[in-house]
Symmetry: C3
Subunit: 409 residues, 3 copies
């Protein structure tokens, strides 16, 4: 704990929305003084003041001066800012938590669709609000590269509160922690609050995965949590590429590897190009490692948010190499990903044939499935079923395609 | 053994040739009744009936009704069908074998040419007859994907009899067994009958090779067989690609790895394209593993049997990457493979220079061979000699090229 | 030692310059006779004779006939030739060494620039003289492929003397030894004479590196040498490619891997093409192994010394894949390498930003460096600094770029 008695947390100024900046000064006497600057003062001023008083009381702070520059922060944001400020000044294990939002209380399947996952900077509330309405497969609250070093401390509280009180609209709830081992201490803010998946950046060994899982298990035991927490290590170095298969098979809860080409090309000392020859080997290694491990392969984000056609071409190339999804840095990228990672007509027709053969064999009580002379083994059926599910979830075919196809005949 | 007393084995109907379908019903009395439908009844009817009686007697069956629908089956085919029928109904360790065909009794060299090897479905006699006259380097009797699941049982007997009584015209005698461990039981039908090489499909570990070799050794010991049985594992999954070098170096009798791109691209979940970018990494891994292990690298079959130019381009690309041969699914593909995998003029000229330098050094009694300032070490000479041998066997140069070249000077 | 009493060492004839051929016949009586044929007889004849007498006396040879065919050999060349002749005929541990040239007495840094390194055949004095004036980053005296097998013995003495008495003009002093284990005996000629870096050809295992280092350590201990001797293993086989990471991390003094595509493509049995598709996988494996190990990646030489534009394209492709340098077989290639491996404007601008951010953070006493929201960690700063250093050393920017850039603002 720092010895200073005054601290400032959060953001204010031009372009800042849905956030607030809070300065907290601990005093020896004089009770609580709150100075509030807010455009919504008339409407919410009273409620904000009440919230601040409540939190200070919770942390047993009796004398303090609080200056709040508010740009429309929701209560969970104000609370996160104030708690961060308090914890910069006093040592306490208490956490101020609003009740967990009911609709956030879900688990995800190991092999659910992960075509799109939207990165949100972990310390920027304005981008979080309503992110879920774009329906990405996953939403990532990022504690790593999208948070400036001097903002890492406060971001932990904001991400924790967002996990509890931001509506994710059913998207898989993801957090990117900082690089292991430093990132291990992020887990205290994340694990107890029903996170579905953790992204592990700059991953280069199974050992890093084991360290994460060890800490997760400790926290789960302490908090009596039983749900699955999936891991998506990010391969973004030459060493990571060499260790891709080791990482992919490091633990049962590793559900995908992502590749991070910005850092990978920097590690190689090369320029990242559109043709991506410089990363062809790395992408092949990661895809192959993932498929060998039976998990998903996720491609790097596409940085130029204005170039929709470039994104589409990128998606088609990704899919052609075997990737199952990609990161997004802007909501407008989500639809392009879903449209183009979705199975195309040829793939759907092939998958239908296999699933039909399987269903018919099942209906006839046959032990084996065959298409022509070729026996169809269980993994092939599973893969075809996955294609069908993907086609349904991306709106390419109806849920009742079998019945509808039969009617057409 | 099934409890039913009637069973039907083999094929009949439109398009079926050189085969027969046999229904066998075991009876408690009444002796042997044979009903024969055959276009060649007039010519061979008597002989077929005699054959059937002989086989039933061999298996000590005294009362039975046999219905044969014949479309020109050779005796070894009829015998295979009938034995399969018998063994569906009664338990016996006896095998009905015709004498082994003398001209099939040869061994092959570890590093013999394997440019072309023709796949033949293991349960389709019509494709087997005369396959050898196209002179592929190898003929594969396929027990795996080319045999429907419910035909696997009978195919074993047919392949066994074909190994003994079908003329292979000097082609390397190969069988593709089913995936290990299930495929291990195929070995009983194969190993005792002078097979030269076994293809091991969907290979993903050295352990699978060890299991095959263990069972081969057991059968060889029982049958007192001493000849070499070479192995050609097929890499056709992402995991197989990762383990390619492990598999290539698993045992001394592994002489080549083949790659199977139909299954590999399915495992990756990608479409197989003509440019084959999606499998470039896998093909590179397999070629590199093979050359590092000092064995041959064999490319995937080309499926479009009508597209001869596409095949040629495919062969040239295969060769340029380091493959030594390829599978065929139609005899007409054989010549294209031999013409284009054969060394070209530049390669032949270079190889001649090296072999000449070696021969001259030998004639002069020199311990080392050099070309210009560069010492030519033994592997380089061996490789050049291989190129020359390949050029001779594919008809590009004469066996007496050295003498002929000298005369020209 | 051979039993013959006459031996001939060195080169003479058309095209031979700066060399001599010496025939030495040991006699039982008659003292020393010297026959000298030299164009520079008038000027240097007396001095050559005196040198020969001195060396024979050093080796205690009292009766001998020496025939010298001189084409302008420097004293260290004559001495190397004569010592080799003597040691073909008598057994002695003595070495005839001129005083070590002062300006050759330098060490090199582990991560110094290695953009260009010029190969010089180890038995061709004419190419050695003045090679340094072209200022390659390194000069390689080659004992391996550039020396004919029957010249290997004498080349050791010439390379040893060149290391002591040839002016390297500050270039990194390199020797390519023969393949391990045979090449281990080359080390006696090299290690005691301040070599900076050894190239280990056809490297395929960490074990080979350990053998080299063991022998280096023995010689260093004997000769009381303390300077670093760096290793640059050359990957030039399929097995080497598989073991690239193992070799790259075999020892602390491995500073780079080079790839040798002439031998690699021969090992694969493929033709080496300009597009280099056949070696894309191998080059990717080597670059990735090097970057994962934190060492430099060095590309194969470009053989067509007349095709300057082809060389430039080759360099740009090399750099785009992550290579840091390349071998040269002609001095004229050096400038093309330096011009095109040098950082371009975009790379320099990016590196300047990072270095500036780092310097500013340092000046402000900040513990962490950030650019925008992204924390810049130490390796990124180090890489940017390396780019800047490279830009300075290749003349792209001034040593005082920071001051000059500030003045412009």
């Amino acid at each position: 704990m720092e010895q200073t008695k005054t601290v400032t947390i959060g953001n204010k100024g031009k372009g800042v929305r849905s956030d607030c900046q809070i300065s907290l000064e601990l005093l020896n006497s004089g009770g609580i003084t709150i100075e509030l600057v807010s455009k919504v003062n008339a409407l919410y001023g009273k409620s904000i003041r009440k919230g601040v008083e409540e939190i200070l009381e919770f942390f047993e702070i009796k004398n303090a001066k609080v200056v709040i520059d508010d740009s429309g922060a929701l209560p969970f944001v104000v609370a996160a800012r104030l708690e961060a400020a308090v914890k910069k000044l006093i040592k306490t294990d208490k956490e101020f938590l609003f009740p967990f939002l009911g609709q956030n209380n879900y688990q995800t399947e190991k092999d659910k669709n992960r075509i799109s996952r939207l990165y949100l900077p972990g310390n920027t509330p304005s981008l979080m609000i309503n992110a879920g309405i774009h329906h990405p497969d996953g939403i990532i609250l990022d504690l790593e590269d999208a948070v400036a070093p001097d903002k890492k401390f406060e971001a932990g509280f904001l991400v924790r509160n967002a996990l509890r009180n931001l509506d994710f609209y059913g998207a898989e709830r993801m957090v990117r922690i900082n690089q292991v081992p430093q990132g291990l201490k992020d887990l205290d803010f994340i694990v107890p609050h029903n996170v579905n998946l953790l992204l592990i950046p700059k991953c280069e060994s199974a050992e890093q995965i084991h360290l994460v899982n060890k800490r997760i298990d400790e926290i789960k035991a302490t908090c009596k949590i039983t749900g699955n927490i999936w891991l998506m290590p990010i391969i973004e170095s030459a060493l990571g590429v060499i260790k891709a298969y080791e990482v992919a098979t490091a633990a049962e809860n590793v559900v995908a590897l992502a590749i991070g080409l910005e850092d990978y090309t920097a590690d190689l000392g090369v320029r990242r190009t559109a043709e991506a020859t410089e990363s062809f080997f790395a992408r092949s290694m990661v895809v192959n490692a993932c498929k060998a491990a039976g998990i998903q392969a996720i491609d790097s984000v596409f940085s130029d948010v204005a170039d929709m056609d470039g994104l589409k071409q990128n998606v088609l190339r990704s899919k052609a190499l075997g990737f199952d999804g990609m990161g997004c840095i802007h909501p407008r990228q989500i639809k392009v990903l879903h449209d183009n990672f979705a199975p195309d007509d040829v793939e759907i027709a092939k998958a239908k044939k296999i699933v039909n053969a399987f269903m018919e064999a099942k209906e006839k009580g046959l032990g084996v499935v065959s298409l022509g002379t070729k026996m169809i083994d269980a993994p092939v059926v599973k893969r075809a079923q996955k294609t069908i599910n993907l086609a349904i979830s991306t709106g390419k075919i109806s849920k009742n395609w079998r019945e509808e196809d039969n009617e057409k005949i």
